[in-house]
Amino acid sequence: MLEPINVSLESLNLITLAPMLIAIAGALTILIIDLINSKLDKSLYVMLTVLVLFIDFGSVLGLNVNERGFFDVMLIDGISIISQLMIIGGSMIFIPLALTSKRFHEYSYPEFFALFLFMIAGFQFMVASDNLVLIFVGLETASLSLYTLIALHNRANSYEAAVKYFTMGALAAAFFAMGSAVVYALTGSIELYKVAEVMATRLHETGLMIAIFGSSILLLVAFSFKLSLFPFHTWAPDVYEGASAPLAGYMSVVPKIAAFVVSIRIFGMYIDLGLEWVRWTILILAVITMTLSNIMALVQDDVKRMLAYSSISHAGFIMAALALDTTEGNTSIFLYYALFMFTNLGAFTMLWISRHKKRRFNKRYDHPYEKFAGLIQIMPVGAVIMALFMLSLAGVPPFSVFWGKIYVMQAAVNSGYIWLAIVMGLNSAVAAYYYLKLIVYMFLMEPVKDVDMVYYNISKPLMAIIGLATLATVAAVFYVQPLISYLYYMISASGY
């Protein structure tokens, strides 16, 4: 018989669980409310979700840095706090986008909001642990919710997107599991801090390198899928296109932040062990990703798809920063996403508000460039705002993404990867073309059809979100400093 185990409540450090529990409790509340009264309007659920997220945000802010909890499964370090804050923040911007002036299928389900909160809880678990099991389970919770959210948009394209995403996700999950198995076989542990210790002692055993490299590759395949690195990115454009515009914008930011945190933990570990090979593999993948998706974005006819490719390119950009494995590099990841989040969500929101079921400009696409032709004449303010987002994405100072971009490039230069900085620069130049293309359509061309407006789907909450995104994009220079110092502090405090 085993001895009973005595565990003190303090040693569990339950507070580390609070944020996720809040999200889960929120989700359950929504489900219960629905059970009580099923005729309630989406606005109620939107606001409830925002409130839950608000509390969640507060509880994350209250966490202390570098704590472990619950038999060391939970890990609350700097990056887990900042990533949770960003995940919740991004979600708070995203969810009010449900308040459109038109009715959409997914928002008529209260479950949509419950799943959304579950997904956030999943992401939070994913980033707040260094245990591969919890990472895996968190990841799957979030992913399964996300697949459903995509499918709920309820169009042929969304099903197609969901299926593609799901199937490839399942394959990636298998790779993740296999990778974990190899890691486990190598070290007898699946907790990364322990893995790092053991692996360091086994690095020089003969014949073992193949397993070490192999494990890194298997895990890399899984996360490259999540982060949409070449050649595992193929799902991304289709899924972004099939999903509703705000969800696509959301997907290009929040799940990636979570995946980046785990990647920092896993691949940072490998690189820290002195495995330059892993660093180079990631670097090369990152470079190919940013270049290839850039040139593919060049030829797109649809703004949403173009933004999808551009999001892939941005992810490649950041992945390169990850490979640097320096504090600056890691800071730049979060800084970049913090800045990119507003701009990209803003851009996708602009597409969202231009959504119209019947007034289509193109059979195949929802948002072809032609739709925006001459927008400056039809809706000048909208055109200017969209142009600001595009310029920001292109990396024109002083708009937000520029600051992220130079920070990434500076990090590359600081680590001696000047060629990488140059490649990033040239890629930005190529990228400028397709952002410019939209600006050209909006400002320099004549409207294609006689339309008196393009933004059919606009409502006050959406305007507020766009206003916020615009403000964050334009005034970035004023908050970059506190942001950098906070991020840098948090990241260096957690030792990355």
Partner: protein
């Protein structure tokens, strides 16, 4: 080498291993290659039963049971319902991707993985973090770890299953049949402001 093989096959464990290995590999191959969904599914179920056999050999009794219950019981049941729903009992026609590429990839991946696992991956020096205890049943051991160290993942897994359930219900639900966002016949997606009010 060959003597080793003979020696290993002579033990019960060894014999069982080889039998199970050959059977699972064969059955899974059928799953993958068969044109008939029914055959594929049946062979999948059978192979899974055999895999639980592996678990029993390896002393993971609890896992073996779970494998039987969840996989063979739940998952296979789901699949069979799905199969009935999709009416997929007939042979299916598939345009297969070029077989040479597929087998090349499969072969290469097998080769590399085998090479990886053939490496001296096992180390005597590794201390078990959560050792199995002599004379304690596997289920009890597992329970002890599952409800201390792995309580959180366990709970998250519960949430995940809840998510899966909700997702399954709403996706398969009747409400999904009508698409507001696409069907032109459906009620216009515009809910002009007056409705909102």
């Amino acid at each position: 080498m060959f003597e080793n093989f003979i020696a290993s096959i002579m033990t019960i464990e060894g014999a069982a291993f080889y039998v199970f290995s050959i059977l699972t590999i064969g059955l899974f191959s059928i799953t993958v290659m068969s044109k008939n969904v029914l055959y594929a599914m049946t062979s999948l179920a059978a192979a899974m039963v055999l895999i639980s056999g592996f678990f029993f050999i390896l002393g993971a009794d609890f896992l073996g049971v779970v494998q039987l219950v969840v996989y063979v019981g739940a998952i296979m049941a789901l699949y069979s319902f799905a199969m009935m729903f999709f009416d997929a009992t007939k042979d299916i026609k598939e345009k297969t991707t070029s077989n040479s590429l597929v087998f090349l990839l499969g072969g290469l991946s097998a080769l590399v993985l085998v090479l990886m696992f053939a490496a001296p991956i096992y180390s005597e020096n590794i201390q078990a973090l959560y050792p199995m205890h002599e004379g304690v049943g596997n289920a009890q051991d597992v329970g002890m770890v599952l409800f201390t160290k792995y309580l959180i993942p366990f709970e998250v897994a519960a949430v995940m299953l809840l998510v899966a359930m909700i997702a399954g219900i709403i996706l398969a639900g009747k409400k999904m049949d009508e698409s507001l966002t696409e069907d032109m016949s459906a009620d216009d997606e515009i809910l002009i402001i007056k409705d909102e009010k």
